[in-house]
Structure formats: C-alpha cells, structure tokens
C-alpha cells in the first residue's frame, strides 16, 4: 500500500508532506504516558479525543491520516473533515508523545489543514467565521471596536506611562476586552516593580487566533503591524501576560518553521519577548522583590498549553508561587508537559462553546481534587474558560491570575 502525494493543489500541506508521511500510525500520541525512574504517568491528555472518541479525533494520528488521505486523494473534503480539524484545541499533548520525524510538524500540520479547509466549501464553525469577518476592522476576535482597546487602562495610569521605554506591555485581546483585571493588575505590578515599560496606543491582535485557525492571509498584516511597534516606542522587548500572545510573539514572529511562521511573515529581529512570570522570577532571583504581604491559600497551577508545551515554560510560575509567603502549591495529576488543556484554544471556545466549557469543567474537577481553594494560571484566556466552568459547576474554587496574586503584596526592594 502506498500513500503517494497526488493532490499538490493543497499547497500548505503538500509542502510538508515529507514530514506528514513520517507518521507511522503507531498511536503513541493518543494517550499520555511516561514510565521509569524520572516519571510515572498515565492519563488521557487529548481533549478532543476525550470528547469525540473516534480515532480521527484522538491525538495527531487521526489528523495525520486525514492529511495523508487528502493528499493521496483517498479522502475528499467534507463538513465532517472540517469538524475533526476545528475541534482540536492545538494543545500539543499529542506532539509531546510522538517520537518520529512528524513530531515537530504536528501543530503546523493542524494549522496547514485548517488553512486548506478555508479554501474549500466546508463548514467552518460559525463562531470562527463571525470574528474572522470583522477582525480586519476590529483588530480583535471579540467583535469589539478597536478604538475601545485601551478602555481597560485608567487615564491616570495612561498619562503616567512614558513615550519610550525598554518594554512594551502587550496586553492582548483577551485582557484588553474581557479579563481587564489581569491587564490592570499587570501594569500596576510592573509600575510597583519599577519596570521600564509602556503600553502601545495601537496594539493589534497578536494574530494567534488567526494562525491557530489557519487564516494565514489575514494574519499577515497583524504580524507586520505589531512587529513595527518596538521601533515606534524605542523598545527592545515585549512583555505579555497572555500565554497565547507569548507563544505567538516569541515563536511565530521569530522562529523558523515548524515552530514559527517567519517563512510567511519574515522575522521579528532583536526583540526580546518575555512573559510577566519570567520577568518576576528573574527579579525574585536577583533579590529585587520584597513581599509586603502574604497569600494564605492552597493553590494549584494550571499550565496554559501555549506557555507550557508550546514554549516549555514550566518552572517560572511554580518558582514564583513557591516564593509567595503563605501560598501552598499543590499539583494536579496532569501537569507540566502532561497538562490537560482548559479547552479554549485553537479557536474552540469561539467555535464550539459547549464542548469548550465541558472540557474546562473536567479541568476544574481535577483542580478541586487537589484540595486547593485557588486555581491560578498565567493566561487570561484560560482564566476566562476556567472561570466559566467554575461558575457553571458551582465549584468552590476561585480563579486568580498569578499577577493578581502578586500585585497587592509586592514592592521593589
């Protein structure tokens, strides 16, 4: 049996066929597992497979089979293909498990498949189509007006920010329009810590939702726009509180494929991208932060996929939490590279609200089982989805971003 490349019109996929074809169909990606001296772990990690069951949905094997089927003309496009493609959150757990040469290309393959889907007459989720049709004007996927983007920033703080600074705080769409408390806590925290930063008057969506859902053509102007911001503000770096923005700015804007998209949009040169949590960890390590209060709670940390598996930032948030007086960090069974997605990513929250919430409720239940009273994270998008699940399930848990924990209880030494 041969799976020859026959359909070269699917350009985004055909270009990476040499990697896609390396999938052996072994199924290692369908279940999280590691055994041995260093780790003992076994649990389902694929949120999509957990919900939709069939092998098409479970891990990367199903999607690789769809890609091979389309490329070898053994499968035709259909609404069912689109459903499989768009219900994956891009959490990266399957990629973590895979060991063959398709591994680094798995997430890129998912996005390439979606980008081809847009060109076909198939059912792209309505929720995604809706924001996609307005993002070119609104510059955000929340159907909100661009001119309201900075509404979260009180004028008193706005006027105190410098015109030029070392860093631009890149709030991102979710914190700007939805979890405004996270954006506000971040600027207050950065000010308290005397970080040299400013906020851009003209930030656009980082393009994460566009890239993750395969809308390459639309993404281009967003990447180009944001890439130009550091020059405008004399800045040498971006600070983000959003895991999605962090992944996009630090990888998609700056790395070669398959991690990044500089093949399509060029490279953002000489700009440092840091997540707030990394900055704080560094300052704690340098002895620059003094705790003026405590946070007396048992806390569990949810690894956002875009900060964890996508960018391998696992220790910084934990080290910061451990440094907070009174905070007692307890881990969920599925943590770090074996974390379980909150269910929001990859366009799923916008495209399939119920399934997204159902997934996040699973995560909330897992958090509850640790005995923690607080669930914390480093991503306003996870914040939103987990909070919705907490409300839906009437969970006693409280969701707080780490910056919100830190802001009231720190000062610069």
């Amino acid at each position: 049996m041969a799976l020859e490349l026959k359909n070269t019109s699917l350009k985004e996929l055909a270009k990476i066929y040499d990697y896609i074809s390396m999938c052996t169909h072994c199924g290692n990606c369908k279940y999280g597992y590691e055994w041995g001296k260093t780790a003992n772990f076994a649990a389902m990690l694929c949120v999509q497979g957990d919900k939709y069951h069939f092998d098409s949905y479970r891990g990367s094997r199903g999607k690789a089979a769809i890609a091979k089927g389309l490329l070898s003309n053994k499968l035709q496009w259909s609404d069912a293909v689109a459903h499989v493609l768009f219900t994956c959150t891009g959490c990266g757990a399957c990629q973590q498990m895979c060991e063959t040469d398709i591994k680094p290309y798995i997430l890129r393959m998912f996005e390439a498949l979606r980008s081809e889907a847009w060109k076909q007459n198939v059912a792209i989720p309505e929720g995604i189509k809706k924001w996609s049709s307005t993002i070119g004007v609104n510059r955000n996927p929340y159907l909100e007006k661009h001119e309201n983007r900075l509404d979260w920033l009180p004028s008193s703080i706005r006027s105190s920010l410098p015109k030029k600074a070392e860093y631009i705080y890149f709030a991102g769409c979710t914190a700007s329009y939805r979890q405004k408390s996270v954006a506000l806590a971040t600027v207050k925290l950065l000010q308290k810590l005397k970080v040299d930063f400013t906020v851009s008057q003209d930030e656009w969506c980082c393009a994460s939702p566009l890239l993750r859902t395969g809308q390459y053509d639309l993404a281009k102007e967003f990447v180009e726009h944001n890439k130009a911001l550091p020059d405008k503000y004399g800045a040498s770096g971006f600070i983000t509180t959003c895991a999605g923005c962090y992944r996009t700015l630090s990888r998609d804007y700056t790395m070669d494929p398959p991690e990044g998209y500089i093949d399509k949009f060029g490279k953002m040169e000489n700009v440092k991208v840091v997540h707030t949590i990394q900055l704080i960890e560094e300052m704690i390590n340098k002895g620059e932060i003094e705790f003026t209060g405590s946070f007396n709670s048992t806390v569990t940390y949810h690894d956002p996929c875009h900060l964890g598996r996508h960018a391998e930032v696992y220790d910084a948030p934990r080290n910061v939490l451990k440094a907070i007086p009174g905070a007692n960090l307890v881990e969920m069974y599925r943590n770090r590279k074996f974390s379980f997605c909150c269910g929001a990513g990859g366009g799923v929250r916008g495209g399939f609200a119920d399934y997204s919430l159902e997934t996040s409720a699973k995560r909330v239940r897992e958090a509850e089982s640790t005995g923690a009273s607080v669930i914390t994270s480093t991503c306003p998008f996870c914040w939103r989805n987990l909070t919705d699940a907490i409300e839906m399930t009437k969970s006693p848990l409280k969701m707080v971003d780490i910056v919100e924990i830190l802001e009231p209880i720190v000062k610069r030494k």
Binding site: A2, M22, H53, D55
Partner: protein
C-alpha cells in the same frame, strides 16, 4: 462524504447512541490502514460500544444484514489485522476501558478490551502483593512488550503477545486465566473458572476452550473480559550484555544460558536492529562490528540472588568462549539498558527506534521458530532482505522452558513510494515462505502470510480450522478474509 446505509446507521445509533457511530469518511479513514503494507480499505461504519449488551445487539444486526465486524482497539498489531478486507463495521472497543478487578492475593486481574498498557501498568504498579492484609512487596507487573503504551493489553494477550517476562514465565497468551466472549452469533459465554464462580484465576483443569479465541485475530468472537495472571515486581534487576560474531555464535550462547532458566528474558538483535533508527535503505555493516548484540535481564529478591545469576551467566560466557564460540565483550549504553527494564516505555514503544524517518512504513515477518533454525533462517533472510534493499534488523528472543522463540525482522519502508512498499512486502512474504519448512510460524499473520501457511499446512489442520470457524461464525461476519480460508 458518508458511506454505508442509512438504515444500518439508524439501527447502530439506536444501539449505542448517535455520538458513538459514524459513517463519515473523515472518521473512517484512520481505520482504513495501519503501519504495514496492507492495502487500505475503507470500513463503512465505526461504532464504539460500551457494554456487552451493546456488542450483542450489534452482532445480531450484523448477522441479520451479513455485515463484517472488525474488533479494533488501536490497530498496532503490525499485521494489517484490523484493515477491513470487505468493509463493514469497525467495532472500536476503546470505551470499554475498565480494569474490573485486581486481586492481589490470587494474583490476577480482569480487564476490558480498551485497557491500554499505560493504564494497566500504572494500576498494577500501585497494587501490592499481599495475603490477608500482609503486604509482601511493592507492585505487580504483566509481560510488557515494546508496543505503543496506548495499545490494548487484551488484544495483545489473546493474539500471543510477547512481553519482558517471556523468558521466565512464557508468552502472554500462556498467562490467561479466564475470559468472557461474545460469540459471532451474539451469545455471551464464560470460559475457565469464571464460568463457575466469581473467581477468574484459571482455565485449568477444564478443557481449554479459550483456544477458540486466542490467536484467531478477532475472527471467532469478541473477548469482552479477560483474566490475566499478574506477577510481583522483583525489586532487583540487572541487564547483562554481550555481542557475537555471527548468528550461530549468539544462538549457541542463548540456548546455553536459557538452559538454566535464570533470566526474565534473553534477546539478541542483529547489527541493523541495534541502529536507532534502523538504517533504511540497507547499509552495509562495518566489517569490524559484531553481527549480533544480546541482552539478558535478570531479576531477584535480593542482591545475593542477582549476584548468583550474574555468576552463572559469567560461567556460561566463559564456557562458551572456551569451546570456541565467538563472543565479544560488550556493554550496552545505560539508556539502552533502561529501555529494557522500564517497560512499557513511551520511547521504546514509539516507532522512533525502528522507523523514525523512513517514510512511515513498518512491518515484520514476526515468527516463532525453533532456536535451531534461527541461524539458518537468519542467513536466508539476510540474503532476501539485502536483495530487496532492506536492512536485516533481526531479533531472536527465547521463550520460557522451550527450545523455540521469536525470530523477527523489524522492517521500515517508505510508504510514499509504491516500489518500496512492494519490495518490503515481497521480501517479507519470501522470508515466511523460506521459514515454514524449518518450523517457523508467523504470529499475528497478515493475509499474505496466512496464505503461505495454509498452502503448507496439513490438510486436516485447515479442515478443522474451517470447521471451527463455520461453527462459530456461520455468516462469516467476524473479520472476514483474515484467515485465508474463505
């Protein structure tokens, strides 16, 4: 694009609920091929039952409509065994994933088909062998192979799967203790001690009717619960390694060492299988490199026990060297040793070691063969493989108390290229043909091997096999085409 028939879909939906049935090609395509060169064939439906009753109802429908049913969990059997030869219903059993019982006193577990190696190994490791509350030691294990950890333990065990304890306690289908089966005609039967009580400890002293469902590759019924013996984990373990100049030399050593029944496993791999990943296409072995590398795993309850086994092993090696067997002292790297003692393993179980970057294909002539024929067949297979541009990545593994063991050749190939696929298939079928007269029998055989077997078989054997199949499955709905007899 949808396949199949609307009425059938409606009936299947009634049985398991609409969420668990699909006839959409998008959902069917991952079930249409596997790692091997088996020709892709689309099923018409996939259905995911949760209960025995649902399975019975599906089989009644399938009999009534004469639709093939293919039991399926993860399709990693490396034999194209779940590729639906004649379309039909893929019965994906992953939702039946309960570990029903682990009995730490009588030392057995009862599992459903969807229980993965990952799941069971974690549960067994967390259960301690005990009697009336007194715990003897920490954790249980089963015979873990080098499969992907997501693969089914039940599907492996009922098809003569091989694990890391096979040198000590036999292959995994020898470790079954009871089973529940839904016959092709939908009756539920219990076999072994569980047919008489709630105890699932043994098939003996009853007639071994479990043989009607082991090694049949899902063609005679659906095993819905399986009792398996489980074994206390021995806390002390070591891996001893040696190399040899030829297949003959390594076989002499293995047979001698095996004689004392002191190891959990003794395996030898040819130079090509020792490469990670296996070289593809064929590359010549450096002249000064040993032809074979061997490891043996020893275990014990104390350092003294281990030390005794080490001493005995050294004695065997010295004696063999003294009588001219060309053994070469060789230490495996630590990582490779860990790979043998920390099973099931994500890394070893992934296909990385075998076919990381060759084009997605992986198959084997996987066989049981008398040790005597190993060196002869190795030389034959090597010639066949090299002629087809493939690396003879061969493995010998001795099975407990027996004078036979595994002879197999793990074979990566390039699925993008029809010529490569053809070469791999032709080479492997030729190997099987060459091996049968020397006592070699393929396990989990693809249809092509089954045809070779049937052509060489005693007529009475094929007659009986056909008769049993006809008796159990009068409408030939269970994984049809796989036995090569219809």
């Amino acid at each position: 694009m949808a396949r199949g028939n609307k009425e059938i879909i409606a009936k299947l939906e009634q049985i398991v609920g609409p969420e668990y049935v699909s006839n959409e090609e998008a959902n069917l395509i991952p079930y249409s091929w596997d790692l091997t060169w088996a020709e892709p064939r689309m099923p018409d439906y996939v259905v995911m039952p949760k209960t025995v009753t649902e399975i019975q109802r599906i089989l009644r429908l399938a009999n009534h409509q004469k639709i093939p049913v293919i039991p399926y969990v993860n399709a990693t059997n490396i034999g194209g065994l779940c590729v639906p030869e004649e379309g039909g219903i893929i019965m994906d059993l992953k939702r039946m994933d309960q570990i029903i019982k682990i009995d730490p006193e009588t030392c057995y577990a009862i599992i459903e088909p969807g229980v993965s190696h990952a799941q069971l190994s974690a549960a067994l490791k967390a259960t301690n062998p005990q009697w009336e509350g007194f715990e003897f030691s920490k954790g249980f294990e089963f015979g873990w192979g080098v499969h992907p950890a997501s693969a089914s333990v039940l599907a492996m065990a009922i098809n003569h799967g091989i694990g890391h304890l096979n040198g000590r306690i036999g292959i995994n289908s020898q470790l079954l203790s009871s089973m529940e089966v839904v016959l092709p005609t939908a009756e539920v039967v219990k076999l072994g001690s569980c047919a008489y009580s709630d105890s699932w400890h043994s098939f003996l002293p009853l007639p071994r009717m479990d043989g009607l469902f082991t090694g049949w590759m899902g063609t005679t019924g659906i095993v819905t619960k399986l009792g398996i013996w489980i074994f206390p984990i021995r806390p002390y373990r070591d891996v001893l390694t040696i190399a040899a100049a030829s297949a003959k030399d390594i076989t002499k050593y293995m047979v001698h060492w095996r004689h004392y029944s002191l190891c959990d496993e003794v395996t030898a791999v040819s130079w090509w299988l020792a490469q990670i990943p296996i070289t593809f296409p064929y590359k010549e072995k450096p002249k000064d490199a040993p032809e074979f590398f061997s490891y043996t795993v020893i275990s014990g309850w104390s350092e003294e026990e281990l030390e005794y086994k080490r001493k005995m092993w050294k004695k065997v090696v010295q004696e063999e060297k003294a009588r001219g067997t060309q053994l070469i002292d060789f230490e495996y790297p630590e990582e490779a040793k860990r790979g043998r003692t920390e099973l099931p393993s994500r890394i070893v179980g992934s296909t990385k070691n075998y076919s990381k970057s060759c084009g997605g294909g992986l198959a084997w002539p996987g066989t049981f063969a008398p040790c005597k024929s190993w060196p002869i067949l190795y030389e034959k297979w090597k010639e066949i493989y090299i002629r087809h541009g493939l690396s003879p990545a061969t493995r010998f593994t001795d099975y407990q108390g027996a004078h036979y063991g595994m002879l197999r050749c793990m074979t990566p190939f390039d699925k993008r290229n029809p010529e490569s696929v053809k070469a791999a298939r032709n080479a492997m079928v030729e190997c099987v043909r060459a091996g049968i007269p020397l006592g070699m029998l393929p396990y989990k055989p693809p249809v092509e091997y089954m045809n070779e077997l049937n052509a060489a078989a005693d007529a009475g054997y094929v007659y009986l096999m056909t008769k049993i199949k006809d008796m159990l499955d009068p409408n030939n709905i269970m994984n049809p085409g796989k036995l090569g007899i219809r």
